[in-house]
């Protein structure tokens, strides 16, 4: 009889047909993945793809797109296309490294604060509050200025001001998760606090934090470019998208400079977000088996 009565609810299954929720059926996710792969190839093959040396004057100053210079030249007569291509070698890895760094620092501190509570929670969260109380870019400016202008220092500055948002989100997720029954069950079955955190809690709160991180890749590129714009990040003449946008703002009539770099940033940010959405679905255990079945 138990066989008759204990079939899984047929609706719950049918309401969520497998194919519909599978991320690789979503055209945007595929588009995002393709765009990212293209950018990675561009970064890897930059010397082969770029028509000119990004640092050399290769034409007239502020030449409009067309002819030898597909995207025109900037105020020093450097080829914009070549600078966008070479810029990807810096902007993309630095942005990703920044986000990963913030994610790791923020998630670890947030998880400890949420799980341990007490004074650990107080200290971590008060420090986070202090950092969050300042506008990000201003605080990053202060730190970067104190450390001196260089790419590494700019990265450190952004890391210092950006981790608290991850810490906040992770903490609240861990707080909610640690009283869930399967976590308590794990503790009753002898799991110590570290096992509990690593095995039962973190995998179940990872999805929203990772999605937050993908959304953050774009703002990381923008903050870095902001610092570069203010002369606190990458040092000229290094090609970097953010400083190119800044350059474009100054040469307003030469719209192609800022627009080219801006579109490059936009395409990466959008692509990462699309893939981030797919990632969230893939992390859901209800759809994971389907995802694994396809070429992930």
């Amino acid at each position: 009889m138990s066989d008759v009565l204990e079939r899984p609810g047929r609706w719950t299954r049918r309401l969520a047909p497998r194919g519909e929720r599978s991320p690789w059926r979503q055209p945007l996710a595929v588009l995002g993945a393709v765009v990212l792969v293209v950018w990675l190839l561009v970064a890897a093959l930059a010397p082969l793809l770029a028509p000119f040396d990004p640092l050399e004057q290769s034409g007239d100053r502020l030449a409009a797109p067309g002819g030898a210079h597909l995207l025109g030249t900037d105020s020093l007569g450097r080829d914009v296309l070549s600078r966008v291509v070479f810029g990807s070698r810096l902007s993309i890895p630095v942005a990703v490294a920044l986000v990963v760094g913030c994610l790791v620092v923020g998630a670890v501190l947030g998880a400890l604060a949420g799980y341990l509570g007490g004074w650990v929670d107080e200290v971590v969260m008060r420090v986070a509050d202090m950092v969050l109380a300042f506008p990000t870019i201003i605080l990053a400016m202060v730190v970067a200025a104190a450390l001196g202008p260089s790419l590494v220092n700019a990265v450190i500055a952004i890391l210092l001001v950006n981790w608290p948002q991850y810490a906040r989100v992770t903490r609240s997720l861990v707080l909610g998760a640690k009283t869930r029954e399967y976590v308590v069950a794990g503790r009753l079955l002898g799991a110590g606090p570290w096992t509990s955190l690593r095995r039962d809690i973190l995998p179940n709160v990872a999805a929203p934090v990772l999605v937050l991180a993908t959304l953050d890749v774009g703002s990381a590129i923008l903050v870095l470019s902001g610092l570069s714009f203010l002369g606190l990040g990458t040092v000229p003449p290094t090609p970097e998208w953010g400083s190119m946008v800044a350059d474009g703002v100054q040469q307003f009539d030469a719209w192609w400079i800022g627009t080219s770099a801006g579109l490059a940033i936009l395409s990466v940010v959008a692509a990462v977000n699309f893939v981030g959405d797919a990632l969230r679905d893939a992390l859901d255990p209800h759809t994971r088996s389907t995802v694994a079945g396809r070429a992930l």
Binding site: V4, L5, W11
Partner: protein, 260 residues
């Protein structure tokens, strides 16, 4: 035999291309409690939602649902809205979830009354007080000023029922109305539902997986399984002489096989 208020014929519901209800026939007479039994996923709640026209996205209902002879499935959304809450009302399982936590009871119990019956605020309040009184909510006037969290689950369910009957509907759909309640509180709510049919002539559809509850209040019992009717008949016959093996297995699975 009293007049059939709600007549469901060959009701089919498809969700995303699969049939979740497959040819449901159901008569709901005035003054009676019509029981709809079955396990989770059998289609009991879906039947109620189809009657109300509140199917989930992608759901499509075919067949016929007639309220006092008037076909509901063909009605445009506007007229459907006018029927919902006015002529066919619903009570849900979780009374705490059925109320907006930040609005007063008075606000929530009079809103639809004013909308459907075009009453003034004062008239609507009078009507709400009558309905709360009818549902045996103590001190109805004070209750209107309070907020949901100030009531126990049992009281809230009485208020939800009062809200449902405030527009004097012909049909009341009660979906597991006592499942979330304590057994001693459940008894009172069951009596209330029974009295609504007995005294006001409301045609009640009682949806529950609990055959003991069914036995206490329903006049007829329809057993659903996987979207189909497997057994239908007077309460006593279905519970004591079930014809279908599935119904029999449900009854046998009760403690002591349903006998006390």
């Amino acid at each position: 035999m009293s007049a059939v208020r709600l007549a469901v014929r060959d009701l089919r519901v498809e969700l995303g291309g699969t049939a979740v209800l497959d040819g449901i026939d159901l008569d709901v007479p005035a003054g009676q409690v019509t029981g709809l039994a079955g396990e989770s996923g059998s289609g009991k709640s879906m039947t109620a939602l189809a009657v109300l026209g509140l199917l989930p996205r992608g759901g499509r209902a075919t067949g016929s649902v007639r309220l006092d002879g008037r076909e509901l499935l063909d009605l445009p959304e506007r007229e459907r809205n006018a029927v919902r809450g006015r002529h066919v009302a619903m009570v849900f399982q979780d009374p705490a979830g059925a109320f907006h936590p930040l609005l007063s009871i008075g606000h929530q119990v009079t809103d639809h009354v004013r909308h459907h019956l075009r009453l003034t605020r004062v008239q609507a309040v009078e009507r709400a007080v009558d309905a709360l009184d009818r549902a045996q909510v103590p001190e109805p006037r004070e209750a209107l000023r309070k907020f949901p969290h100030q009531f126990s689950g049992g009281q809230l369910q009485r208020i939800a029922i009062a809200s449902a009957i405030a527009c004097e509907p012909q049909v009341l759909l009660a979906d597991e109305p006592t499942t979330a309640l304590d057994v001693t509180v459940q008894a009172g709510v069951l009596r209330l539902l029974r009295s609504l049919s007995d005294d006001l002539g409301i045609a009640t559809v009682l949806i529950t997986h609990d055959l003991a509850v069914m036995s206490a209040v329903a006049d007829t019992v329809t057993v659903l399984r996987a979207g189909r009717v497997v057994e239908q008949g007077p309460r006593f016959d279905v519970l004591t002489r079930p014809q279908d093996p599935y119904t029999r297995s449900l009854i046998e699975s009760l403690p002591h096989g349903g006998r006390s």
